[in-house]
């Protein structure tokens, strides 16, 4: 056994006589039961693919139930990866290859596979019982359902059991190795290196359960060996997807969650203050709490509070005491925090509120993505209480968006809403790691000199009040949610003062428009027939769709907005330069209404509220429909 492991472990398109067909890009979807380890399989395939130098984008799609009843359609978990030899921006519209570990996975995902697509099936799982559980009347392998596809049924389970035999695993443990078998086969098919996965398995199980590590590696290698030796249907076989021609530099795979965590830490360093996160678990935002909890050595304090309200209040308390207070949640949790965000606004304290948006309303679709909290971010508070809102557009961009959110919060003494979403939070992409030294500092000058400063003195340029923290001698003061006198900061119910304070708070936030980059046109003409205006995670899909339309000779522009509030100062003029403005959003029309309200432009919405990202082809069709007709 040891010898065999050693030889097959020599990986990465070793000396084999299979001729490999070259492909520019491939979309693979792994689908199985939520207990089948599909997310893990996808993540490992992603790591190998990133290390191979392909550009890639992923889309994990899983149910809210942790372990739904086995074999049911609502328990199906999937992971899609698109990788290519050129730069790509989305996880792909439709899978070229579907790996289905059971009938339910086939049932759920078959509709997305184009005719002629490849389907690799775990044939062992297609028992009469499982077929019925998935809601099929007859076995889809036998009744012609799959006639228009290239189907490769393999007894993955049996082969996995054979591969791990003798390693002392229980039947249940042995069966669970089948995802590694499938991964092994896909590694062979697309010439991926197995070594990163082997290293990872040894690291994960090595010391604790060496037999599990050995078994998973054996299954991985067996799947790979099967590819080398089995005679697959004609036209199918080994492929190679050459490296993408990407900019030289140091890269890593990154998810939006990791990027936000690192961005917040970086922002705090640039501000010269410690970072404090108060949070309460909620899907899909919890991962940020987990990630920051592992960055204690960078001066990060994390606090899992008793509820969403305590989470934001503790962050406000931390900011009051001189840290960068951050709270993180998803729409329903943000709703609970609203009153406290109003307090931070009124008391003029820095605060970062990260919203990993998910499908709503109410509990909605916790594990699916949506952009439907834009109104909540921009308008969702009692009274006149505008806040800066920053939206990240890709996993890697989450890093820079987080740094920017910290900068605005400390420069303007205000809460900042940082919008991401379930798709960005979970999806991975290769990221050219920036040099942190290139990011400008924005060191905070806390007020310390009683002669020249008091807590309610405003900076003439930013209109921000001074940040004086408890512990500072000679500058003791009281703050709170009650209206303050403009001059002294004491409680004031004076009518003129309230009018003045409301105006100055609004002017402070409006003034941020002068401190953010002017809106640029990402692709296409600076004025003309049609502009497609997006925000957030739809960037990749819109960008690709516009690129295709431009390539087809349509003069279409792509404008992507990062600063949702205040909007860039030049945006209104820019939009007025186009005959039509199309605003695709994964909601029922929110940014489109803001643009109409702010600029009186006749912007038109394109709305998809399915819990899934846009397909490039759908956007392209919408653009063509508008671009060609005058």
């Amino acid at each position: 056994m040891a010898t065999r492991l050693a030889t097959t472990a020599a990986t990465g398109g070793a000396a084999e006589d299979v001729p490999r067909k070259t492909l520019d890009s491939v979309v693979i979807r792994f689908a199985g039961d939520s207990g089948d380890g599909m997310q893990l399989t996808g993540t490992q395939f992603t790591q190998s693919t990133a290390l191979m130098g392909n550009d890639l984008a992923t889309f994990p799609d899983f149910p809210a139930e942790i372990r739904a009843p086995i074999g049911t359609t609502y328990g199906v978990s999937a992971f899609q990866i698109n990788f290519a030899s050129y730069d790509i921006m989305t996880p792909g519209d439709a899978p070229d290859v579907l790996v289905a570990m059971n009938p339910a996975a086939l049932k759920v995902h078959l509709r997305d596979v184009p005719k002629g697509g490849t389907i690799i099936l775990n044939a062992d799982a297609f028992s009469a019982r499982n077929v019925a559980k998935a809601g099929y009347d007859a076995n889809p392998l036998e009744d012609g359902t799959l006639d228009n596809y290239v189907v490769i049924p393999i007894d993955i389970q049996k082969m996995t059991l054979a591969a791990v035999k003798g390693l002392g695993l229980s039947n249940k443990e042995a069966v669970r190795c089948k995802n590694m078998w499938a991964l092994g086969l896909m590694c062979w098919m697309y010439d991926r290196d197995r070594q990163p996965t082997i290293d990872w398995l040894n690291q994960r199980f090595g010391a604790r359960a060496p037999a599990l590590a050995q078994a998973n590696v054996a299954a991985l290698n067996a799947g790979h060996a099967y590819g080398e030796t089995a005679e697959l249907p004609s036209g199918l076989g080994a492929y190679v997807v050459p490296k993408a021609d990407v900019k030289p530099g140091v890269y890593r795979a990154v998810t939006g969650t990791e990027a936000i965590a690192w961005g917040l830490v970086t922002g705090a360093r640039k501000a010269g203050l410690p970072l404090f996160l108060g949070s309460y678990p909620i899907t899909p935002a919890s991962a940020l709490l987990h990630t920051l909890s592992n960055l204690k050595e960078y001066g990060v304090t994390t606090f899992q509070a008793e509820d969403e309200i305590a989470a934001v209040c503790s962050a406000i308390g931390a900011s009051y005491a001189g840290a960068i207070g951050v709270t993180s949640s998803s729409g329903p949790g943000i709703a609970l925090k609203t009153e406290a965000v109003g307090l931070a606004f009124a008391a003029e304290l820095p605060l970062i509120v990260v919203n990993s948006q998910r499908g709503g309303p109410s509990t909605g679709l916790p594990t699916k993505t949506e952009q439907s909290d834009l109104f909540q971010a921009v308008y969702g508070r009692n009274a006149d209480s505008p806040l800066p809102v920053v939206a990240s557009r890709s996993a890697g961009d989450c890093f820079f968006a987080a740094v920017e959110a910290v900068r605005l919060a400390v420069t303007y003494m205000t809460p900042v809403m940082l919008l991401t979403d379930g798709y960005l939070a979970n999806a991975a992409e290769p990221w050219e790691i920036p040099d942190a030294d290139d990011i400008p500092e924005f060191k905070v000058a806390l007020g310390t000199d009683p002669e020249s400063v008091h807590a309610f003195k405003r900076d003439e340029r930013t209109l921000a009040r001074s940040w004086v923290i408890p512990g500072t001698p000679g500058l003791m003061h009281r703050i709170g949610g009650i209206e303050k006198s403009y001059e002294t900061g004491h409680i004031s119910y004076d009518p003129e003062n309230h009018h003045r304070m409301t105006k100055v708070r609004a002017a402070k936030v409006d003034g941020i428009a002068r401190d953010i980059p002017a809106q640029t046109v990402e692709a296409g003409p600076e004025s003309g027939r049609l502009a497609v205006v997006g925000w957030g995670s739809t960037h990749g899909a819109i960008s690709q769709a516009v690129r295709r339309a431009n390539a087809a000779g349509l003069a279409v522009a792509h404008i992507h907005i990062r600063h949702i509030w205040p909007l860039p100062a030049n945006l209104g003029g820019l939009l007025r330069g186009y005959d039509r403005v199309l605003v695709p959003e994964m909601n029922n029309g929110q940014l489109v209404k803001v643009l109409r309200a702010e600029y009186l432009v006749d912007a038109e919405g394109l709305n998809q509220i399915s819990g899934l990202p846009f397909k490039v082809s759908d956007l392209e069709a919408a653009i063509r429909a508008r671009g060609e007709v005058r």
């Binding site: 890593r252 309200i309 209040c313 503790s314 040099d435 408890p470």
Partner: protein, 343 residues
């Protein structure tokens, strides 16, 4: 974070801010304010090191009247804000001021968790058994049958006993005192301040407008001797005009009995000694209600444990010692990276 400079002796008045106090004339809050200012002076607390954090309600105006740092937050959330302050800067001397609605109704959850986490805070509950600022509705501590604008026929829900709640939440320090007792209250506050961890002090406070005299049955000068028992660690639980009464365990039950010393063969030796580290006894004392029992004032329970803020910072330090942080670039390059070479 900030170096404490020894303060020259400040007077209680030096802890008063320049703001005009705006409670109703005769409100018990004046007396509490005076006691707190006196306590601060006696303990020589540097004003810049002290932070008073409140929620919403009459009591919540307290920070404006202190010449320290103060944060008037939102209803019920003061313990949560204070937790963030203390975690961000454990050197600060953080006081939380809450009313009964604040502490036990809308903010009950935060009180529970600040207590069980044992965050090093002085948590003062001004309990007047009524909602004052919203004009007189019954509160979670109002007695059954309380008539108020929202309960014109009398309230129907049982009140919460603040001290028993705090003990149930896992508080390591629970005390009770009375607004107007200018000797007992400062002493109790000093004990609370000396205790590292969450120190819960229920201060019975008279609302002169909406619930006047709610406690007079046991707080009036004439009633104190018979209707109050001031508990002291290590001392016998004796009270009464001539120190003629005491508390002992009821024979055969886990309950307290009031007994007369010298009657039915009861001697001082039969009377319980207060042990403030005994949570069961604290619970029994805290639950005693007038008129069946004397109301217990003083430190019912004090049994210190590791504080949350210290534990958090110890863990941060331990991680830093084990894995010293590199620069930001090291953070961004943790894990697997690859290099794309030019050309």
């Amino acid at each position: 974070m900030n170096v404490q400079t020894p303060v020259e002796q400040l007077r209680p008045a030096d802890y008063a801010s320049d703001q005009e106090v705006r409670w109703c004339p005769g409100c018990g809050d004046y007396a509490i304010l005076k006691s707190v200012q006196r306590t601060m002076a006696d303990l020589r607390i540097p004003p810049e090191q002290a932070v008073f954090i409140s929620g919403i309600g009459c009591a919540a105006r307290f920070p404006y009247y202190m010449a320290t740092y103060g944060f008037h937050t939102i209803h019920g959330r003061a313990p949560a804000v204070a937790t963030g302050v203390k975690l961000a800067n454990p050197d600060l001397d953080v006081w939380v001021v809450m009313g009964d609605g604040d502490c036990l109704s809308i903010g009950g959850n935060h009180t529970l968790h600040a207590l069980r986490r044992n965050v090093d805070l002085q948590m003062l509950l001004f309990n007047n058994e009524i909602y004052g600022l919203t004009k007189g509705q019954y509160s979670p501590t109002s007695r059954l049958g309380t008539r108020s604008p929202s309960t014109p026929q009398g309230s129907l829900d049982s009140p919460v006993n603040a001290a028993v709640f705090a003990l149930g939440a896992g508080a390591r320090f629970v005390a009770r005192s009375v607004d107007t007792n200018q000797k007992h209250l400062p002493e109790t506050l000093k004990r609370a301040h000396g205790h590292r961890g969450a120190s819960f002090v229920e201060i019975v406070q008279n609302c002169i407008v909406y619930n006047d005299g709610a406690f007079s049955g046991w707080t009036d000068r004439a009633a104190v001797a018979e209707a109050q028992i001031a508990v002291m660690h290590g001392e016998k639980l004796i009270f009464g005009k001539d120190r003629g009464k005491g508390l002992r365990f009821a024979p055969g039950r886990l309950a307290l009995d009031v007994v007369e010393i010298g009657r039915d063969g009861v001697t001082e030796n039969d009377i319980l000694v207060h042990d403030e580290t005994d949570r069961t006894l604290a619970g029994l004392l805290g639950a005693m209600a007038h008129p069946e029992f004397p109301v217990a004032v003083g430190v019912l329970y004090c049994n210190p444990a590791e504080t949350y803020d210290r534990a958090v910072h110890a863990q941060l330090a331990a991680v830093r010692d084990k894995t010293p942080a590199g620069g930001l670039n090291a953070m961004l390059r943790r894990g697997r990276t690859w290099t794309v070479a030019p050309g």
